[in-house]
């Protein structure tokens, strides 16, 4: 057996990733400190109170909706049998495939006085002028809350459902056999058990809310994220933007603490073999109600906006034909997403292998800290993250130029504006998603297994490859699917850091939006949805298939963040 000290190499990856993240955050803080005089006062007086209040209300409202929808639907499809249950169980995940800004745009159009809904109603009721309907304008905070809730509830749905189906099965069945009523079964057994899973899903949804710019801007809601963006772009005031970003980090940390709270009860898996919760058949009105209740979020969060996109894209293609560029861009986006996913999952594995190794030595503190820092990228809005990475990349290029000049190589830019830079930035942004899945997956593998393997002479590498990897497959798959879909939809980082000539579907769509011709972007938007649909549907099926292979899934396998 090799000497214990020779494993230092395993700590290179987590240390390196954390170092890059610290450099980025450091440059952000440095930028914030450059603020001109009187700026902080302005931010504190006129920006933070209003934008902060909007943001808090948005977070609270979205949390209420995602928790209600996500938990209720998860419980229904897990505990009961009703018409279309299997289909709905998957359909309920689909809103994850659509970026929220597209949903916002779709509803703004659908609900407009000139939109199909009001036009039809006017025809039916023979009302003349468009304004006669007197509908409230959807450009309001409540509308944004509902919309975000409809798009983001799947995060809670996924985590809660996995818990109900697998982890809580024994307890729920026991309660059933003891004659618990439906009501008390849910309120007194299922809900308390699901609390950690719900907290994890909610935290994820809220981080997405904090990162949103597009939907908020469409609906005219001035959030902190929008304030950062405006301060930077309109006033060319990067220090001011960085200051608001730093203030916002407080909210982010709160969301993350919620997530840690969700995970605090480390494991309560029963030692008995994994088993599935057996759904009970509902009948009559109850069954119909359950079907309707579960159909509604999927309908509003996915089907309606997708149908809208289909109609618009159809019209587009009919009018001006199919553009060959789109398919190339779709292919490039797909590859970018696949490559980033590979890098993220690989990095996640390396980081967590190091944590695991450190755990065995009972010296996990430093490795865990590196993990927490390294995964902060998901907590920053994408634009802030991209800006923060510019300086470290510049330093890297400068350093490399200095080295290469020693060898009389002509200096050039290696990293900035390269594909590697883009993948690196996206990987840092989404590392948390993969690492969260892997961490929770690892947590379910007893340390005694590692000790046994070590006793048999396994080195860390073969331990990872032959013991952990096979057991981690479901967790890896979940993490990979979520990262893939997120990269497909990602806009701000890709927009700012991509190489010359490279387009993703999202940047193409943004370009159309920038010149105010949203219709032209419909095809690109539809392609984003279509490409994301497969992984999202897999995610929905995963952990719900009626076979034993996946019966080891638990809520911790569902997407998770931490730090």
């Amino acid at each position: 057996m090799a000497a214990r000290g020779s494993n230092a190499g395993w700590y290179v990856a987590p240390a390196g990733i954390a170092a890059i993240m610290l450099l980025a955050l450091g440059s952000l803080a440095w930028t914030a400190a450059q603020g001109s005089e009187g700026l902080w006062l302005h931010v504190a007086r006129y920006v933070l109170p209003q934008a902060g209040a909007n943001t808090l209300a948005l977070l609270a409202g979205v949390a209420a909706i995602v928790i209600t929808l996500g938990t209720a639907c998860a419980w229904l499809v897990s505990a009961y049998e009703f018409p279309a249950r299997r289909l709905l169980a998957i359909a309920l995940v689909l809103p994850l495939a659509i970026p929220s800004y597209i949903v916002a745009f779709a509803y703004l159009d659908l609900l407009h006085p000139l939109g199909p809904l009001q036009s039809m109603l006017r025809t039916v009721t023979a009302t003349g002028a468009p304004q006669a309907m007197g509908w409230p304008d959807p450009r309001t905070l409540p509308a944004l809350i509902v919309l975000m809730g409809l798009v983001l509830y799947p995060y809670v749905y996924l985590t809660a459902r996995a818990l109900f189906v697998f982890q809580a099965a024994n307890l729920i069945d026991a309660a059933r056999s003891l004659g618990a009523s439906r009501r008390s079964l849910f309120l007194r057994v299922a809900l308390p058990l699901a609390r950690p899973a719900i907290a994890i899903g909610t935290a994820l949804a809220l981080l997405e809310v904090l990162g949103d710019i597009g939907a908020s801007k469409f609906l005219g809601v001035h959030t902190l994220t929008v304030a950062i963006y405006d301060t930077w772009t309109t006033r060319s005031d990067l220090p001011g933007a960085a200051q608001i970003a730093c203030a916002m980090l407080v909210l982010v940390l709160a969301a993350m603490m919620l997530e840690r709270y969700g995970r605090r009860r480390k494991r309560f898996t029963t030692r008995q073999g994994p088993r599935r919760l057996q759904p009970q058949r509902l009948s009559g009105a109850r069954a119909a109600l359950a079907t309707a209740f579960c159909a509604l979020p999927a309908l509003l969060g996915f089907l309606v906006p997708t149908a809208f996109l289909l109609a618009k894209a159809w019209q587009r293609v009919a009018d001006s034909g199919w553009s060959a560029q789109l398919l190339n861009v779709a292919w490039d986006t797909l590859r970018l997403a696949a490559l980033t996913t590979l890098v993220v999952v690989g990095a996640g594995l390396l980081v967590l292998a190091a944590v695991r190794l450190a755990q065995m030595r009972r010296r996990e503190r430093l490795a865990t800290l590196a993990l927490r820092i390294g995964t902060l990228g998901y907590a920053l809005p994408g634009t802030v993250m991209a800006i923060a990475l510019l300086s470290p990349m510049m330093w890297f290029d400068t350093g490399l130029a200095a080295v290469s000049s020693l060898f009389a190589v002509e200096p050039r830019i290696w990293l900035m504006g390269s594909m590697s830079a883009l993948v690196l930035a996206l990987a840092l942004r989404f590392l948390a998603l993969a690492a969260g899945s892997i961490e929770t997956g690892l947590a379910r593998i007893p340390v005694s297994l590692d000790e046994a393997a070590r006793g048999l002479g396994a080195q860390p590498a073969s331990m990872l490859g032959r013991v952990h990897l096979p057991l981690l497959r479901p967790a890896l798959a979940t993490g990979a699917l979520v990262v893939f879909v997120d990269v497909m939809k990602e806009l701000p980082v890709t927009l700012m850091l991509r190489p010359i000539g490279f387009e993703s579907l999202a940047t193409l769509l943004y370009a159309e939006a920038a010149r105010g011709t949203y219709e032209d972007g419909a095809v690109a938007a539809l392609l984003i949805v279509l490409v994301s649909l497969v992984p999202v549907a897999l995610l929905g099926r995963y952990g719900f298939r009626e076979d034993r292979e996946t019966a080891g899934l638990d809520p911790r396998m569902a997407p998770g963040v931490h730090a």
Partner: protein
């Protein structure tokens, strides 16, 4: 540097290899070829026909990257090794920011000096305006809006009848900055509060939404850029936006408080990057963009107002009448832009 074979159609496998090589080695555009690298905050689709024409005439290949935000930050971070040759923006403030940040260089060119009026270019050749974009009033067709002044937007008679996009959008901050320059900060603040009180809906969306919402009966008047009207009215028959464009009249407001009141214009413009590796080609591109041919393409493709005198206008743009430009220098507007943006925060315009 690339391991991928240059030249020849890339087969699937080679193309894949090229992608991998690209990833491994970074991808600054290959040097040496006759080319020019264009960084633009202007959505490139609209100027693509111009760039294509330039490529055809000069044999110089144009590599474009559309960035929206972060152009300045990226060029600055790229430093002396930046591949950027031409920097293009759609807001005078952003253009002057580039100059102030020191990422541009002065360019002397008789062709540019002759084509562009002095107040639409930097004295040292650090920036050049390429097209004008007047910020106008859209109104329901039934209204009599002759002689409308920007100040009138705050009049109580328009309560609940005004639509506009976010106050923090550069097009609006630029207008507000001009108002500050004309009337001072205090009067502008009162005006802005008045406009806010008159809003029919939240300030959001884009300029075309103003026309759409006028047709939809949400509001009666609104502020937007003129060129959108050309686009809407020229949309294919049956497209929704054509109806929006047909539903409105366009009035060019003036500043009532200014001695020789004119209409507020913003510009799209360009500068040569300080460390441009293809400086000569960059100047050629700029010079092409102010030729009669390119300027009339600007006018016809995007319904913008040419900077060059005597270039034919698009019929729709011509139908708005002569453009009397507000005489305020662009630098003066840019100077008040920050105050304007802070004012928008202060009166809670976007809330």
């Amino acid at each position: 540097m690339s391991r991928a074979s240059p030249g020849g159609p890339l087969a699937g496998g080679t193309r894949r290899l090229a992608w991998v090589a690209l990833l491994a080695l970074g991808s600054t555009a290959a040097a040496g070829a006759a080319e020019v690298n264009l960084y633009t905050t202007r959505e490139p689709g609209l100027i693509q026909p111009l760039l294509d024409e330039f490529e055809k005439r000069s044999g110089i290949e144009v590599n474009t990257i559309f960035m929206a935000e972060g152009l300045l930050e990226r060029v600055r971070a790229e430093g002396t090794r930046s591949p950027a040759d031409v920097l293009m923006t759609v807001d005078s403030g952003n253009l002057l920011d580039l100059v102030r940040a020191g990422v541009t260089q002065g360019v002397r060119s008789d062709a540019l000096a002759k084509a562009i009026p002095a107040h639409l270019r930097g004295g040292t050749g650090h920036w050049y305006a390429l097209s004008l974009r007047d910020r106008v009033l859209y109104g329901a067709k039934s209204l009599d809006l002759a002689g409308f002044a920007y100040e009138d937007l705050a009049k109580p008679e328009w309560k609940g009848r005004v639509c506009i996009r976010s106050g923090q959008h550069p097009y609006n901050t630029s207008l507000i900055a001009a108002m500050i320059a004309h009337s001072g900060a205090e009067k502008t603040e009162a005006w802005l509060r008045g406009v806010k009180a008159n809003l029919a809906r939240k300030p959001a969306g884009g300029d075309r939404d103003v026309a759409r919402d006028i047709l939809g009966g949400i509001c009666d008047i609104g502020i937007a850029n003129a060129y959108y009207v050309g686009r809407m009215k020229n949309a294919a028959p049956g497209e929704a936006e054509r109806a929006w464009g047909e539903a409105i009249q366009v009035v060019r407001p003036v500043f009532a408080s200014a001695a020789r009141g004119g209409t507020h214009v913003n510009v799209s413009g360009a500068a040569v990057a300080r460390h441009a590796p293809n400086r000569g080609n960059a100047v050629k591109l700029l010079e092409y963009l102010v030729t009669d041919d390119a300027q009339s393409r600007y006018a016809r493709a995007n319904y913008e107002y040419p900077v060059k005198r005597g270039v034919a206008l698009d019929p729709i743009v011509a139908s708005f009448g002569t453009l009397k430009v507000d005489t305020l220098p662009l630098s003066e507007i840019a100077r008040h832009r920050r105050a304007a943006s802070e004012l928008v925060d202060k009166v809670g315009f976007d809330h």
